[in-house]
């Protein structure tokens, strides 16, 4: 008679992935948790107030101003293309960076929720990623205002920015998932992260453009996923050119690989989190 009842069976998990369709379904029914959780986190940081939002815009502006000054002092030239490139790439970089730093804390911070509720844990880094995305959007608006003031030409090729943001977003999500999982096992990752991301910033074509780089230094391209993404982003959104197909393909490959590896690690280990956080 009770055969129709929803039966939940809990058994020792074998190493490996949980049943994926089941996992996906329970993730899907809870999807509004991700947006609500992000909203409440933003609320906690006062990003839903007027001053909070002004700060979200002023902060990246100040940052790009400082870096621009640095370039002018070091390189001695100030070209508005360069400023536009710097601003656009810096904003995109901070999207990836915030996604990483928010993701690293996400699982450990959700300790109480993890101990008392059964839900797909992957929603925690996903929320951190969504927060980073929400913080990224106003900076994009700022960039377009700057761009308009500079009188740079607009055109259809700028639409290539959309796939580039999608690729970078997938990459950032993969990173957030991967790091949130690693942070459960190594709690000090968060303290290494600032040094890591600072180095990454300097090694990516953000403060400089790819075309100014000595061919010898272009080997970075092979190991740095952001290299092709930043190049494609700058071409599309600053120069109004079509990005190299190669950059797009490379970026997609990096993004998919990171997302797959991150999700795999997370899913195979997440059932362990409740006894570890």
């Amino acid at each position: 008679m009770n055969k129709t009842a929803p039966v939940e069976v809990y058994e020792p998990f074998k190493a490996g992935l949980p049943p994926l369709t089941r996992y996906w379904r329970s993730l899907w029914t809870r999807r509004s948790f991700i947006s609500e959780y992000s909203r409440s986190e933003l609320h906690e940081k006062h990003f839903d107030t007027v001053f909070g939002q002004v700060w979200l815009i002023i902060n990246p502006l100040l940052l790009s101003g400082v870096y621009f000054l640095l370039i002018v002092i070091i390189a001695g030239n100030s070209d508005k293309m360069r400023y536009a490139h710097l601003t656009a790439c810096l904003f995109l970089f901070y999207f990836v960076n915030h996604s990483m730093s928010g993701g690293s804390k996400s699982v450990v911070k959700g300790g109480k929720l993890i101990l008392n509720t059964a839900f797909p844990r992957i929603m925690l880094p996903m929320s951190a990623w969504l927060i980073a995305l929400i913080r990224f959007l106003p900076t994009l608006v700022v960039f377009f205002v700057i761009r308009a003031f500079m009188g740079l030409p607009w055109g259809w090729n700028m639409l290539w920015g959309i796939p580039v943001v999608m690729i970078t977003g997938a990459f950032a999500l993969g990173l957030a998932i991967l790091i949130s999982c690693a942070n459960v096992y190594f709690r000090d990752i968060g303290s290494f992260l600032p040094y890591f991301s600072r180095t990454w910033l300097y090694l990516s074509p953000i403060l400089y453009e790819v075309k100014n780089l000595k061919p010898k230094l272009r080997t970075f391209e092979l190991v740095n996923p952001l290299f092709s993404m930043m190049d494609a982003w700058s071409r599309a959104i600053v120069h109004n050119q079509m990005p190299h197909l190669e950059s797009l393909l490379k970026g997609t490959a990096w993004a998919l690989a990171t997302l797959l590896v991150g999700t795999y690690f997370f899913l195979t280990r997440e059932r362990d989190f409740a006894v570890r956080v």
Binding site: M1, N2, T4, A5, P6, V7, E8, V9, Y10, E11, P12, F13, S26, T29, R30, S32, F33, E36, Y37, S40, H43, E44, G110, K112, L113, I114, L115, N116, T117, A118, F119, M123, Y185, F186, R187, D188, I189, F192, R271, A274, V275, R276
Partner: protein, 263 residues
């Protein structure tokens, strides 16, 4: 899940040969630095705690099962396995119905948010829809009798207010199986009585209730079956008075007033 009707006497939860081992790191915080430092020295990083050992237990619908046992006996651990939070290390747990754990709705997990927001977030995490939560919210707030405090950040709550909200959420969402782990202990006399009445009411609905408590008086009063866990093993299970008597004898405390009073 809504078309499922619990039938009195049918199995709600079946625990078979359940074993659970916690593996914890010895360092307070596992860090990369610590791992690098101890690398090559062959130091063990983990401590193993056997929290549950070959436990067999069936809980039918329409019954209230009390669980007693000393601190660290594995009661909370067993509740976590039943609600799917911890995967078992051995054995198997079958659950026929929707489970709600007291505090499972994540109430109070983010102390800087208000009670209302915590209820919403916890409910969403537990798989409820916004509408379901909104529909129940008035009822939850009424039952908890928190007044305006429901809009205040939860860090301003007293521990009794915390458990009031937790209990209200757990009983209001009408789970088929309700698991209550000690959270009534901080309520005042008025709320204790109210929650006991609620528990009796739910018992009438042919739901299954599992109650962990150190308040042996309450256990005797509301449960129709009691299980006694000790160091991860099921020592005895059966008629409440018999099991509780045996447990009290074991504790060498007799029927002192102190135990009977608390929930």
């Amino acid at each position: 899940m809504s078309n499922f009707q619990p039938v009195s006497g049918e199995i709600a939860v079946s625990v078979q040969h359940l074993g659970l081992t916690y593996t914890t790191t010895i360092d307070k915080r596992p860090t990369l630095k610590a791992r690098l430092r101890t690398m090559g020295r062959g130091t063990k990083h983990t401590r193993v705690v056997r929290a549950l050992d070959d436990v067999n237990l069936d809980v039918p619908y329409g019954s209230v099962l009390g669980i007693v046992g000393a601190n660290g006996a594995g009661k909370s651990t067993m509740m976590r396995v039943m609600s799917g939070i911890l995967p078992p290390s051995q054995g198997r747990v079958e659950v026929y119905g929707k489970v709600s754990t007291l505090l499972a709705l994540g109430v109070g997990f983010n102390p800087s948010l208000s009670g209302r927001e915590n209820v919403l977030l916890g409910g969403l995490a537990a798989g409820m829809t916004r509408k379901e939560i909104a529909d129940h919210f008035e009822e939850i707030a009424d039952f908890a009798e928190l007044g305006d405090a429901i809009e205040a950040p939860m860090r301003t709550y007293s521990s009794g207010m915390f458990s009031r909200l937790g209990f209200s959420v757990a009983v209001t969402v009408r789970p088929d199986i309700l698991i209550i782990d000690e959270a009534l202990s901080t309520g005042d006399a008025h709320f204790k009585e109210k929650s006991l009445n609620k528990i009796k009411e739910l018992r009438g609905d042919a739901r299954a209730l599992i109650m962990v408590s150190h308040g042996l008086g309450t256990i005797r009063e509301v449960c129709n079956e009691v299980a006694w866990l000790h160091k991860g093993k099921l020592i005895q299970r059966g008629e409440p008075n018999a099991v509780v008597d045996a447990y009290e004898k074991f504790l060498h405390v007799g029927k002192s007033a102190a135990i009977n009073e608390d929930i």
